[in-house]
């Protein structure tokens, strides 16, 4: 009888553990993983801020958005060189879009 009770308790524990695992949301992958150089992390943070500002102004470019996404993807893989390259591009494109907003409107 003791054995049966012990077995039932183990099965119940396993089922409960299984349910808990199934209910848990898969953890979101952090953008920056260990292994990224400080330079890459700084460039990524700057790019995120620049693109955010551009979007807030209502005149952002898809080239900036796409480059930031590529930088974030590279960050998940711990690829500092690619992060740096794309983050710099994202910042540059975001800053250019802000300068464009100050251009005079066309006239004919």
């Amino acid at each position: 009888m003791k054995r049966v009770t012990l077995f039932a308790a183990m099965v119940a524990a396993l089922i409960l553990a299984g349910c808990a695992t199934a209910l848990e949301e898969p953890p979101a992958k952090p953008v920056a993983q260990g292994g990224l150089s400080k330079q890459a992390m700084d460039a990524l943070a700057q790019a995120e801020a620049d693109v955010k500002d551009a979007k807030k102004s209502g005149n952002s470019w898809s080239t900036a958005t796409d480059a930031l996404k590529a930088a974030e993807d590279a960050a998940r893989k711990g690829d500092s060189a690619t992060v740096l390259k794309n983050a710099k591009k994202a910042s540059e494109q975001a800053n250019l879009s802000q300068r464009q907003k100050k251009y005079p409107t066309l006239s004919f």
Binding site: N59, S60, W61, S62, T65, Q93, Q100, K101, Y103, S107
Partner: protein, 243 residues
Amino acid sequence: MYKQKYPNVKFEDYIHGAMIVSPDALQQYESIMAFPPFLVDIDKGKKLWETPFKNGKTYADCFQNGGKMVAGNYPYYDEKLGKVVTFEGAVNLCREANGEEPYDYGDRRTMGLLVAYARTLSDGMKMNIKVDSPGALKKYEEGKKYYFSRHGQLNFACATCHIGNAGNTLRTEILSPMLGQATHWPVFRGGDSLNTLHMRYKRCEEQVRADPKKPGSEEYNNLEYFMSYMSNGLPMYSSIYRK
């Protein structure tokens, strides 16, 4: 400006867009419009229009004259709401007033099909947009500014193509003039791909590498307000074929 460039094009022909400078394209268009391949979609839109809400009312109850010959009055500036209301916006106001969820402005299967039919009820009506209050003028000016401002990495304004280069060829496409551009939506590109005016705005912005706004956004509503005013006096004609 267009008069100087195209002295032989009649005012009412500007609803044909780029085809004013391409008789061959206009002939093709007229052949296709004799038996439009998108009639099934118009029928689906009609069904949506005529299906009562849960409370028994219909879209026709929301619009003057049951929705007939009214689309030319849209967009208008709503003083109470303090914003521009497009025809699609009025559809969603109608839905909400009758306890229904608003449609997504970018959804072809709902808003797209519905207005593809509903706008045909105003075929022949002349565009009749009013800018008659300080609030309305502000939104008109915002729309105008958007039209003439440069966007995207390619540094294009709407006006770059549709005023400065209207009638010229860009890659394989002739650029349509701004006059008349707001009169004939939705269009079925290639005969089967439904596009509302705001979807077209979005695509234009993507093409110049700008982050596009959402269909139904304030920016696009104001832009449509300005463009529609500029087409005042031209006859509406929906839904149509475009290449």
